[in-house]
């Protein structure tokens, strides 16, 4: 390790320690913290965020980074230091381009927007939220101007969670998805009766559900000596380092699928975090490539594995042993069909594989129009209803199950595209894994997930951010981001399921 690299690393480790400490506080806030802790926790988190930010934007850090950049300029192509420089430079640029005053304003506005969002939800009326949201749109434009962008201001927001993503690329991607999925949804809606999911409803004891979810992700390879699952209202994954990855779930005893697939989903995120390269731990290079690539891992384990026939050939006997009265007489085919029931619905987080991306398209197009000034905040519900009707054939009866359903907009715009990137990437990676592992379905049917996890570890997890999304996809799958494998997978699977 060179002196300049050592000097840079020392500073990166300290910043990472502060950020991971904040992650622990955030995890506790969502899992165990009593209500009385709210105020103090907010203050502690604000102090930690400002400490980490201060350190990143300090003139000393800038000097160290410039010296390192100079050194790297002479390094051979492929030297890992190029990738480290890229990831650190990106974090540094983002932090330095956004004035502290703007960040503070965003934090205050987020609190204000959250409060008015809660009030609007109580009133089931978007117009209560609209004034604060209008300010948030203005602020999002201001942030975009501060960050800069290639073509239009929305690019800057997309880039925050998906490095390199532009509005044009995202619009094309969603356009391709819409072109195939909208007619598929219509066709399925005409044959709803062909799939029955009633076996998933009844009474499923909490503790048994908990155990069964853990059994599945243990089989996937989630390492419980380096992680754990707890309960929270909204499931999430967070990491305090490669040795300590936390996932959460919530259980409803009325249905089997909700908690089970939530555990598979978060377990997929967790497997990615546990597989990140320990040698670059505590630096940006040791982190996931993007939100979308992260989502590809949760979707892969939840959907491509968890909602497949081979998986249920392996897992049904375990589900039957756990819930004999509910699943005793159920066949693999029964449960495979039940967990793949498709229904155009109003709520994104409950959406199935076919309809999910259409929810993202609604939000993306509304956000883009807002950023371009072509849509006013107060007119969002109308645009929302029109797009829901057009893409999904359903219209929310009120804003609670319409434009007020997601919390995301209380913090700003641009956070949705990763979900669709994740879906698309999951199928690209899955297809490549299938080519590499000739007998992948048989392995899964035998409960042997090691070849699949090995592939993901090798082709993605262990890279950290050494490659970009595009670079990793080209190496692992032979192609950049493309909707083809995803659409082939969805059309094949659901045409067969619904007999189209």
């Amino acid at each position: 390790m060179t002196d300049r690299l050592a000097e840079l690393t020392k500073r990166l480790l300290e910043i990472d320690d502060i950020e991971r400490a904040a992650a622990v506080l955030g995890w506790d806030q969502m899992t165990y913290m009593p209500q009385g802790g709210n105020q103090g926790r907010g203050e502690q988190l604000a102090t930690l965020a400002s400490l980490a930010h201060e350190r990143l934007v300090s003139p000393e850090f800038g000097d160290v980074l410039r010296a390192f950049a100079e050194e790297v300029r002479g390094a051979p192509e492929g030297d890992v230091r190029h990738a480290l420089l890229r990831t650190v430079q990106r974090a540094y640029d983002q932090a330095t381009k956004l004035p502290q005053e703007l960040v503070a304003r965003q934090m205050r506005l987020t609190t204000e927007a959250y409060e008015s969002w809660v009030a609007a939800r109580a009133a089931k009326d978007f117009s209560v939220f609209a004034p604060a949201f209008a300010k948030m749109v203005d602020l999002s434009r201001e942030i975009a101007e501060a960050l800069g962008y290639p073509e239009e201001s929305y690019d800057a927001l997309l880039d925050l969670s998906e490095p390199g993503m532009t509005t044009k690329v995202a619009a094309d991607l969603l356009g391709e998805l819409k072109a195939s999925l909208v007619p598929l949804v219509e066709a399925i809606a005409e044959h709803k009766e062909r799939v029955d999911r009633s076996i998933l409803y009844g009474h499923f004891a909490d503790e048994t559900q908990w155990r069964l979810g853990l059994e599945a992700i243990t089989a996937f390879g989630f390492d419980f000596s380096r992680g754990r699952q707890d309960r929270s209202i909204h499931p999430f994954t967070t990491s305090f380092g490669v040795g300590d990855v936390r996932i959460t779930t919530r259980i409803s005893e009325d249905t089997f699928a909700s908690a089970f697939f939530s555990t598979l989903h978060e377990g997929g995120h967790g497997l990615y975090e546990q597989g990140l390269p320990a040698e670059w731990a505590r630096t940006p290079l040791g982190q996931a490539i993007s939100s979308g690539v992260h989502e590809s891992q949760s979707r892969l384990w939840e959907n491509l594995v968890g909602r497949s026939r081979p998986f249920w050939r392996y897992f049904l006997p375990k589900a039957q042993a756990a819930f004999p009265s509910q699943f005793g007489q159920v066949s693999v085919e029964d449960i495979y069909r039940a967990v793949n029931y498709v229904e155009p619905s109003l709520i994104r987080v409950d959406a199935d594989e076919v309809t999910y991306n259409l929810h993202i398209a609604v939000r993306f197009e509304v956000e883009r129009a807002l950023m371009r000034g072509e849509l006013a905040a107060r007119d969002v519900p109308e645009a929302w209803r029109a797009k829901m009707q057009e893409y999904l054939g359903v219209v929310p009866p009120d804003d609670l199950v319409g434009a007020l359903q997601d919390i995301h907009w209380t913090g700003g715009l641009g956070g949705f595209i990763g979900y669709s990137v994740g879906n698309v990437v999951s199928a690209q990676v899955w297809e490549a894994a299938g080519r590499t592992i000739g007998d992948l379905p048989e392995r899964i049917a035998q409960g042997d997930f090691a070849p699949l996890l090995g592939f993901l570890r090798r082709e993605l997890h262990q890279l950290g951010s050494r490659e970009t999304t595009d670079g990793f996809l080209r190496k692992a799958t032979g192609q950049g981001l493309t909707t083809r494998p995803y659409l082939a997978y969805i059309e094949g699977k659901f045409s067969e399921l619904y007999g189209l």
Copy 2:
């Protein structure tokens, strides 16, 4: 608020946020963290500790503190700023007197000493630990020299947890306790058969024990909207602010008393933390006076309340409802006697009210001799055995249940005196509470703990560190630290119990 106070407070709040964040990380480490988190957590905690330390010893902090001190010089006596200055000055002096190099050396040596302590425990042989411990004694002397002391170097170590405590005062206190307790222990040992505790052993379901402990401290006034109980190997209390106080316990199904009294004990610590003054939260003035005063609150609820006849008049029906087969036929007198069984034993943490302070006397005298150079580290087991024989009439068969039993020495010397201060103060406060609340026993027998908690809130908790130990005791009880109420309580209670 003056400008100088505002400037000082701003810095104190930031330091407190960092320290509370570290407390959250420490809590998680002891409760939920998977094994794989060890290394990362150590790094995060080290970074937070160094951030807090840096900020406290910075020249800017020194300037702000000096400016504030100047302002306070002119303030009227009794102005709260005097107390704030005293507490902040103390923290600042301690931090600035100890060179970073010395602190870092102590941290490294603690790791080394811990490892050799673990190895020594495996070998049941103190000589394995002695070399590292000898270094720790040397380092403790170095720390004492850096901090300064009035008479002998051990004073400096005692002062760290008990502000103002000196070796002489501690030796006198323990001397008085020994003079009364050693003969009492001997007398009781001759009449062991007069108290039977067999009803406390059997099978007590984990979840029922958990619920019963919570029921007791809920009745005491522990506010679960501002705190919670979790599980850990060793019970402890930690606070992330007055709105979020965490206690822990561990449950063995073989016995009732262990977890129950542990919950009462930690609940007592927790009540103190929840009662600290919110208006001085996040400053040293908003914190507990000392370890010993903290211990007085845990001991008061555990022993003076929890091991009393009135408490069991109130609580026995609840314990009977929870454990009908075990306690159905038990009388108040039966359980009162059982939970007050006295037995000279080898392990401090299992010691009863009568013998506890004698364990402290052993450690205190060994430590003092080490600090004075009158005893070598390798000779500790011999001195230990001699003192155990003299004070308790029992001798450890090996070092595992002798000089290796406590983890404290892996981190340095001086941490034990607070336990005896706590016992003594608990009885002083109890006596004063009884004078103020004429019908205290009746209130307790009715499950009405509000008058007692109100007294503690008013006379101690809400003060924070506005008073010293001595100052608070004089105001609340009319006297400084004195063993008289404690010895009167112990002698009265146990003479009656054992028919002496």
